[in-house]
């Protein structure tokens, strides 16, 4: 008996757009570190800084995952960068959201602009590189854990 037709049997939802296929990849070098990039947008690779070092000499690897997000509003505004422990998050309005984790050596980004756009070249990529450079130079684990106090002392 088909009792459940009213329930949707779709695949698990991907509300956060986590599972976008990032089939393009490339590598370049920053500060003696290999930056291994994955993206769903082949044009992001056009503006990466030239790499003169032999990549194989670098011992460290940092991973970037850049997702072109056509559903993201494309207006770029002045960035807000928030750092908490080893994680920094930047938003340039809703168009571009980045997260960078120095402890894990990862940067993930949703980009409302394509790699071929001027905004990517002039605003987004320099910020990605700046945050990555900062992450590479960050001291080891600087995270903190808030102390739990009884509720009565919450406002002290």
């Amino acid at each position: 008996m088909q009792m459940t037709k009213f329930l949707s049997w779709s695949n698990p939802p991907d509300l956060l757009k986590r599972f976008v296929n990032t089939r393009f990849s490339g590598t370049f070098c920053v500060d003696g570190t290999d930056i291994v990039v994955q993206s769903n947008d082949a044009t992001v690779f056009e503006h990466f800084p030239p790499t003169e070092t032999d990549l194989r000499l670098n011992l460290r690897t940092f991973r970037w995952k850049l997702v072109y997000d056509p559903e993201g509003p494309s207006e770029i505004v002045s960035p807000i960068v928030i750092t908490y422990g080893s994680v920094s998050v930047a938003n340039l309005g809703l168009a571009c959201l980045f997260g960078i984790d120095s402890e894990r050596g990862e940067l993930v980004a949703f980009l409302g602009v394509r790699g071929g756009d001027v905004a990517f070249r002039e605003t987004v990529l320099p910020l990605l590189l700046e945050l990555t450079t900062k992450a590479l130079r960050a001291p080891a684990n600087s995270r903190f854990a808030p102390q739990l106090v009884p509720a009565d002392n919450a406002h002290e």
Partner: protein, 321 residues
């Protein structure tokens, strides 16, 4: 470019409160935020085995735009939420932590914390700390919970309110959070306002003294405190005993039939959010919770009756069981 560094020096107010079966360890620079959250959660004097960190910086230079819809994205262990255009919260699934910067207006907006941020926080981090979110209303009677499951728009909230007027205590009208400890299931709610569509005035004249407004997902709806609007009793935790899958039909009938646990399990598994591979163990624990929950009595209720008549039928059904 504006830079914020959220550190212990910045956030000097530390507190803990229980929310949906977990301890939220709050750090903030604002008493107003702590007060807002304390109105939602119960004070915690000890850390529960399930906990997450919430760090909130209030900055008076942030200007919020309440017309902007919330925006969510996530990759790997990071999830980003942007509210009011410039207020950002980020969730770190690998460290069970969230942090963000808000305006003073948002800091004192109880609706933001209890209707939006806490449900999202538990929705995003819950599975990591073994608090599994289920899209279901939940009502309690004598410590036993009846969960009402159904797609959006099926009338879960309306039926929940009608049942709350018939002696059930309200645990949740939309999202119920389930924990599993040594085989013991518990259903938790957030005591968030109940959301009802404007047509609900046909069934609940009490709504006449409230004004519908644009809700956080853009719908025009009433968002009311069920205790204030309907004199409903709340209960924050209960023990699940039955699941009712709610199906709206055109005919003026209300009948109950057995719903197989296997189908119920499949429904929950397929509607649960996919997680990155690195969180496979959290996903497995979630499956275990779904498995235990769907071993309970599961029923299908097909109804074309108004909420009050449906509630009356559910009341009789529960009394008969």
């Amino acid at each position: 470019m504006r830079n914020y560094s959220i550190t212990t020096q910045e956030l000097q107010i530390h507190a803990g409160f229980f929310v949906a079966g977990a301890t939220c360890k709050l750090a903030t620079n604002s008493r107003v935020v702590a007060d807002s959250l304390f109105r939602v959660g119960a004070p915690a004097c000890a850390v529960s085995p399930r906990s997450f960190e919430m760090s909130v910086l209030v900055d008076s230079s942030i200007v919020r735009n309440t017309e902007a819809a919330p925006h969510f994205r996530g990759l790997h262990h990071l999830v980003f939420a942007v509210f009011n255009q410039r207020e950002t919260f980020s969730f770190d699934l690998s460290r069970n932590a969230m942090f963000g910067v808000v305006s003073p207006e948002t800091a004192q907006d109880d609706r933001f914390w209890n209707r939006l941020l806490l449900p999202i926080a538990i929705g995003v981090l819950g599975t990591m700390i073994e608090v599994v979110p289920f899209h279901a209303a939940c009502l309690d009677e004598s410590g036993r919970a009846l969960m009402i499951v159904g797609p959006s728009g099926s009338g879960k909230s309306t039926l929940a309110v009608a049942l709350a007027k018939r002696g059930f205590s309200l645990v949740a009208d939309d999202w119920t959070y389930i924990t599993l400890d040594s085989g013991q299931l518990r259903a938790h709610g957030l005591r968030a306002p109940v959301k009802l569509l404007p047509t609900a005035t046909d069934f609940f004249p009490e709504l006449g003294r409230f004004e519908p407004a644009k809700s956080l997902n853009g719908e025009i709806a009433y968002e009311v405190d069920a205790a204030e609007a309907f004199s409903a009793q709340f209960r924050l935790v209960s023990e699940p005993s039955q699941l009712l899958f709610l199906q709206r039909v055109e005919e003026p009938v209300c009948d109950f039939s057995r719903f197989s646990g296997g189908e119920a399990k499949r429904f929950f598994e397929t509607s649960a959010e996919r997680l990155p591979a690195e969180f496979a163990s959290a996903a497995a624990k979630r499956s275990q919770t779904i498995d235990e929950l769907t071993k309970l009595d599961c029923w299908l209720i097909r109804t074309g009756l108004p909420p009050d008549a449906t509630a009356q039928a559910v009341r009789r059904f529960c009394d008969g069981n």
